[in-house]
Amino acid sequence: MRKIVLAISLSIFIAFLIAAALLLHPFGYPPSQMDDYIIENTQRETGANSAVTAVVFDYRGFDTLGEATILFTAVTGVIMLFRKKKME
């Protein structure tokens, strides 16, 4: 019983995935208006020679702040799980 439900749901899901992969934009011609602006104006506004670092730390620095918070929380959780019992 469980295997029949698993097989039916998995086949419907994979059919949706393949249909979505075939109906996306053709590979190699992405729609790009925001990135054209970023590529033209990076050296004048930020002064960095690399567009990817400028996007990570200047145009989208707030996402990097959120990611630093996630890393800090994960390290805190791992250290907390491996403490020795000192209860008396």
């Binding site: 004048r44 930020t46 020679n49 690399s50 670092t53 200047d58 702040l65 800090f72 390290v75 250290i79």
Partner: protein, 152 residues
């Protein structure tokens, strides 16, 4: 581990540290940056743990040292973000100023390391944070799984 492995890893850890620091500092000129360089330096610490055993490493590198390093990296990052609060949060206030503020000529050019605004300083802060975090995870896990083998 044997004597050959310990001697070679003693020599190699210096080169790995310098390589990781090069990737962190040149983040605004070449591919790389804070996250990648921090992962490279943490893999050097993994080499030391494998070669010497986690008990010997734990005698001189405790977890609260790494925790202090990670918290200071996070505080430097937030302090730099608050530096340009006069315009918006996360404003690049060092472009044009003499600290890190040359502006490169448009188009292809050889890179100058004094460009970039506050991006190199943020790279240093994030690299410190990632190195301390990943090393703490590796050290705590290696310590926990080796002690149970010794007890039972």
């Amino acid at each position: 581990m044997s004597k050959i492995v310990r001697t070679i890893s003693n020599i190699l850890i210096l080169f790995i540290f310098i390589y990781g620091l090069y990737i962190i500092m040149h983040g605004h000129l070449t591919p790389g940056g804070g996250f990648q360089g921090g992962a490279v330096v943490a893999s050097g610490i993994a080499l030391l743990i494998v070669a010497f055993g986690s008990q010997n490493i734990h005698k001189s590198l405790k977890e609260h040292h790494l925790s202090t390093l990670e918290s200071s990296g996070a505080l430097i990052f937030i302090g730099l973000a608050f530096g340009g609060i006069a315009t918006v949060f996360f404003y690049n206030f060092l472009v044009g100023s003499p600290v890190f503020g040359h502006i490169p000529p448009s188009g292809p050019n050889a890179g100058d390391i004094w460009t970039g605004g506050m991006i190199p300083l943020m790279n240093l802060a994030v690299g410190l944070k990632v190195f301390a975090g990943l090393s703490a995870i590796l050290l705590v896990m290696a310590l926990a799984t080796s002690m149970t083998e010794m007890d039972e």
